[in-house]
Symmetry: C4
Subunit: 212 residues, 4 copies
C-alpha cells in the first residue's frame, strides 16, 4: 500500500509543467532569433538594383541564426533527454531549471552580438560563455536529480547516467579552450566551436542508440 501511495504521489508531482515552461521558452527564443534578420529598407527607384546586394549583406545574421538554432536544438535535446528520466519534481529542481532558462533566454542577446560584431573577440567570449553556462546548469540539474536516485526511477541505467555526466563534464574544458583560442584568433575559435557542435550532434545520435 505504501508502495502504491508512493507511486501515486510520484505520478502527481511530475515535472510536467516545468517541461511545458521550458518548451515554451525554447520555442520563443528560437523564434525571436529571426527578428534579428530585418528586411532592409530601400527606396522604390533603387529597389531592383539594391535588393539582392542588401539581402546578401544579411548573411552574417543568417549565419548566427542557424548557429544559435542548432545550439538551442542541442540544449533542448539535452534537457529533453534528462527529463525523460526525471520523474519527480521538487522546489530545488524548479529553481535550478529557472536559472537554466535564464541563460537560454539570454541567447538572443548573445546571438545578436555575434551577428553584429562577429569578428570581435569579446562577442565570441560572451557567446561561448553563455552556451557554456547553460550546459553547466544542465549538468547541475542532471547531477542533482540522479544522485541517490533523488528524482529519477530506481531502475535507471547507472551506466547511462555516468556516460551522460562524463560527456557533459567533457564539454567545459573544450569550451574554455575555445574562449582561450579566441584571444589568439577569433576565426579559428569560431571554426572549432562549429566543429564542436557537429560532434555534439553526432554524439547525441550515437548515445541515444547505446541507451535504448
Amino acid at each position: 500500500m505504501s508502495q502504491i501511495k508512493k507511486r501515486v504521489s510520484a505520478a502527481v508531482f511530475t515535472p510536467n509543467r516545468l517541461e511545458v515552461l521550458t518548451d515554451g521558452v525554447f520555442a520563443i527564443v528560437m523564434t525571436l532569433l529571426v527578428l534579428e534578420i530585418s528586411v532592409p529598407e530601400i527606396a522604390q527607384p533603387l529597389l531592383q538594383a539594391e535588393l539582392p546586394r542588401r539581402l546578401l549583406e544579411l548573411w552574417p545574421k543568417l549565419y548566427s541564426y542557424v548557429l544559435s538554432f542548432i545550439v538551442l536544438g542541442l540544449l533542448w535535446n539535452l534537457h529533453h533527454r534528462s527529463f525523460h528520466s526525471i520523474k519527480r519534481c521538487d522546489s530545488a529542481l524548479v529553481w535550478l531549471n529557472i536559472v537554466f532558462l535564464m541563460f537560454i533566454a539570454l541567447i538572443p542577446f548573445s546571438t545578436s552580438l555575434l551577428g553584429n560584431y562577429g569578428t570581435e573577440q569579446l562577442s565570441m567570449v560572451i557567446y561561448t560563455s553563455n552556451v557554456l553556462l547553460a550546459l553547466v546548469m544542465r549538468l547541475i540539474i542532471w547531477t542533482y536529480a540522479t544522485s541517490k536516485n533523488r528524482l529519477v526511477d530506481s531502475d535507471i541505467s547507472r551506466r547511462w547516467v555516468k556516460v551522460d555526466k562524463l560527456i557533459s563534464i567533457g564539454y567545459s574544458p573544450v569550451f574554455l579552450l575555445v574562449i582561450g583560442i579566441s584571444f589568439i584568433n577569433v576565426i579559428a575559435a569560431f571554426s572549432i566551436l562549429v566543429l564542436l557542435l557537429v560532434i555534439a550532434i553526432v554524439m547525441q545520435l550515437i548515445t541515444r542508440r547505446l541507451y535504448q
Copy 2:
C-alpha cells in the same frame, strides 16, 4: 513480457515534448506575423483625413499576413497528421524536426520581404523556397518515421503512408514551377501559389476523410 516491455518503452519515449515545442514555434510565428502590420504614425491635426488612406496602404501587408497564416496552418496540419501516427521518438527525429522548425521560424522574415517588396521577383523566389524547404523537411520526417515502421505503429495503413508521400512529393515540382514562372511574371506566379494553397487545403479535407 518482452512485448509488454516494448510497449511500455514505446509509451514512454513519446514525441510529446517535440509536439509541444513545435506547437509553440508555430503559435509564436503566427502571432509575430502581425507585428509587420504596424499602425501608421499620423499627427493629430491630419488624423481624421489621413487615417483611412494610411490604413488602406497596409493592404499588401494584410494580404501577406493572411497568406502566411494559411501556409502555416497547412504546414501545422501536415505536422499534426504525421505525428498522429508517429508514436516513438529518437534523436534523429528530434534533429530532423529542429531543421523543420528552422525553416518555419524563417517565415516571418520571408513574409516581411513579401509584404514590403511583393512585386520583386527575388522576394517571390525566397518566399516560395522557404515554404518548399519546410515541405521537403516534413516529407523527410515522414519518410524516416514510416520506413520499416521505424517510429509508427505496425498497424498503420500502408495505403495512407503512400498517398501522403505521393502528395508531398507532388508539391515539389509545382513549387519549382512557381519559382520558374516568377522569372517570367511575378503576379502570375503569385496567383498560382495562392491557387495551389487552396488545392492543398481542399486535399487535406478530402484525404482525412479517406483515411478515417
Copy 3:
C-alpha cells in the same frame, strides 16, 4: 467491440494539439499587448520632473491593454468551454480553428489602433469588427462540432448546446449596434462595448453554474 474501437479511435484523434496551439497563440497575443506600452525616453536632467507626467500620458494605452486582455480572456474561455465538449478532431475543425486564430492574432494590431487613435470612429469600427469576427468564427466552430453530435459526445446536454448557441448568436446584433452607434458617438459606443464585456463575463460565471 465496434463500440470499443470507436472509443479508442476517438481517444486518439483528440483536439489536444489544437488546444495547445490555441493556448500558445492566446498567451503570446496577451503578452504582446504590453509591447504597446513603451517606457518614455526622457533626458537625465528632466527625468524627475517629466517622468510622472509622461507615464500618465500612457493611460489610453493602459486602458486598451486592460480592455483587450479582458476580450482575450472572454474569447479564450469561450474556446475553452467549447473544447471541453469537443472530443474529436477533423481537418475541417483544424481549418475553422486556424481562421479563428487568424482573428485572435490580429487583436494586437486593433488594440494598437485603439490605443493610438481611440477617439477616431474608424479605430472603433475596426476593433469591434475584429472581436465580432472572432466570436462568429467560434460560433461556426461550435455549430459545426455539435450538429449531429459530429465531434462531441452523444451524451452532451442538448440544452447547453442550445443556450450556448443562442448567447453567441445574441452577440452579433449587439456588436453591430455598437458599430452603428460609433457613427453617431464614439465615446457612447465605447462605453456600451465595455458594458457588454462586463455582461458577457457575468454570463460566463452564471451559465457555467447552470451547466454543471
Copy 4:
C-alpha cells in the same frame, strides 16, 4: 456510483488548459525581458575601443533582467504549487487567473522602467506594486480554491493550506514597507526587495520539504 461520477467529472473539468495558458504567458514574459538588453550600435572604426565600455553600460538592464527573471520564477512556482492541489476548474477560477496573468504580462513594462530609470522612486513604486498585485491575485486564487475545498481534493493538508496562506498574507505588509522606504531612500528599498526575494526562495525550498 455518485462517487465515481463525481471523480470522473472532476477529472474532466481539470484546470489543465489554464495551466498551459499560464505557462505560455510566463515563458513569453521571461523571454521578452531580454529584448530590453539591446546590442549597442557602434560604427566600425570605433568598434574595438567602444564595445567593452558600451556593453558595461548595459549592466543596469542586465541587473533588472536577472531580478525580474527571479521574480517570475517565484510567481510561477507559487502558481505551480497552488495548481498542484487545484483539481477542478470553474469560470471564476478562469477569470481570477486571467487577472493574475494581466499583472504578469505587465512585468516587462515595469522591468523596462526599472532598467531605464532605476534610481527614480516612481519606478520603484510601480515595479513593487506590480509584483505585489500579482502576489495578491495569487492569494485570492488560493483562498477561493481552498475555501470549503471548493476546487481542491478533500484530503488536502489543511495545515499546508494555512501555512501557504499565512506566507502569502505576510508578503503584503513587507512589500508595502518597501514602497514606504522608497520614499526615504530608493537604494535601501531596492536592497530590501532583493533580500526579500532571497528569503522567499529559501522559504519555497523549505516549505516544499515540510509539505512532502
